[in-house]
Subunit: 274 residues, 2 copies
């Protein structure tokens, strides 16, 4: 690559880092890329680091030494996430969202890439310190959330199917009881999608009693994989018995009245003061 | 926001633009954000524009006048997409991917956010010139592709369900004949997810004869919406009769031999010389 001026180099390095989260980039990579001295690169990184931190984009971790380099960890401040979630809660409380059966219409909100990016960044922040190999979700509505989270964590996604799907080869199936409907259901995961011993972050859009998530946890057992964390976008606290207790929620549905169309959605346990 | 030096401003503006594709940003937004003169902002944008173009990130369109501003259009050069797709084709041709029934295992590849980003950027480039309001896909495997594409185009996503789903309210269902299996299937879309007259980009992972895509086209008719484009990741040319003719494919499966495990995948029609 041609030798760049500092101004161009800053633009270049910014985009390079933003598109490679959780990836260690040796300083020599930048030095060679821009035919620049490592000292100049370090100065550039200091500038980028300051802006990223001021802007709430995340942290730049610098590791010294021969195996050193720089790593971009996307992070969003809790207050910023809270204000974003509070705005979503207000939207979700619109009476016209209440559907027959007490369901809440939210396909429009979950269809906006920017909303998913914010949710993904928040989960990536919440689970940034964990050792993780893969993000897992179950079809259908959890999929965009899982990918948004994974892209900020530089992790692959595996998708559990509701029915055994012929086009992914041999699969492991389990039966589980949906905690709210008490119906027996099946979920399956293609055998070769998950390695033994993988540490898995489970992401889903909605949790009532947690039967679906417990199903995914049981499925992980079949693969000798372990749960590294559980994140749900919205939990409903209208259940008596919670099957899954260790999870992070971004919002909490505390009431839906099909008759009065009144809905109450508040920030989830991620925002509880510790 | 505090007054920033040019170096910090360049980092800030770069990330601001990258996260807001296809969005017109008035120069005054930047001028106010950084307490800088518009002339300085214009100089910054010229630097960013050059790097974005050199790096193959996309174009910065500057619109002059009172309603003017700058718009970032993510674009990837066809040669870069081709080299990326060729690499994917090589991976897809690995004999161990051939599953019983002549299916190809590709869940691992489709689980990598970076792969999806590249595919999304390529579709966003291919359809950048069209007037579009929304990206549509059908569950399950097309979903990550649709979101990746939509995020580079700043469009919302609507997801067609394979079965009528109670939790999204009243829906329009249609029957369609899967061109390859000749079975009658049902797909449905929640009534309020799509506005009348919407111009829709259909994205899916796989196309044989095109029955599923034709189903989505028919469904759009029910909503008085129009097709603004069709993009499929892989098409199979093992069919006699093609139901859908106007589409862009990134790769083409020209043969799967279950016995010899031989697979042939080549770049799709997007790369045909015009």
């Amino acid at each position: 690559m041609k030798k760049l001026k500092r101004s161009a180099r800053l633009v270049e390095m910014t985009q390079y880092l933003l598109f490679r989260p959780h990836t260690l980039i040796p300083l020599t990579t930048f030095a060679e890329r821009y035919s620049s001295a490592k000292s100049s690169i370090s100065e550039d990184l200091a500038i980028i680091k300051e802006v990223f931190e001021d802007e709430g984009l995340g942290e730049l971790h610098t590791l010294a030494g021969a195996a050193g380099g720089v790593k971009f960890i996307p992070k969003v401040a809790k207050e910023a996430s809270l204000s974003f979630v509070q705005d979503l809660c207000n939207q979700l409380e619109q009476p016209e969202r209440v559907l027959p059966g007490g369901f809440l219409y939210m396909a429009d909100i979950m269809g906006r890439p920017q909303v998913l990016n914010e949710i993904g960044k928040t989960f990536a922040t919440a689970f940034a310190g964990r050792e993780l190999d893969v993000v897992m979700t179950v079809e259908t509505k959890g999929i965009p959330l899982a990918y948004a989270t994974a892209s900020f964590m530089n992790l692959p996604v595996v998708t559990v199917r509701r029915d055994s799907n012929a086009t992914e080869g041999s699969a492991v199936s389990i039966n589980y009881v949906s905690g709210s409907s008490k119906r027996i259901q099946t979920m399956s995961l293609a055998r070769r999608t998950l390695q033994e011993g993988a540490r898995v972050l489970i992401i889903d859009d909605f949790k009532r009693a947690g039967g679906t998530i417990q199903g995914m946890v049981d499925l992980l057992g079949e693969f000798k994989a372990t749960v590294g964390g559980v994140g749900v976008f919205i939990e409903s606290n209208e259940v008596e018995e919670e099957l899954v207790k260790d999870y992070i929620s971004l919002a909490k549905l505390t009431g839906v009245d099909s008759k009065t169309k009144q809905v109450t959605v508040v920030p989830g346990n991620y925002f509880d003061s510790e």
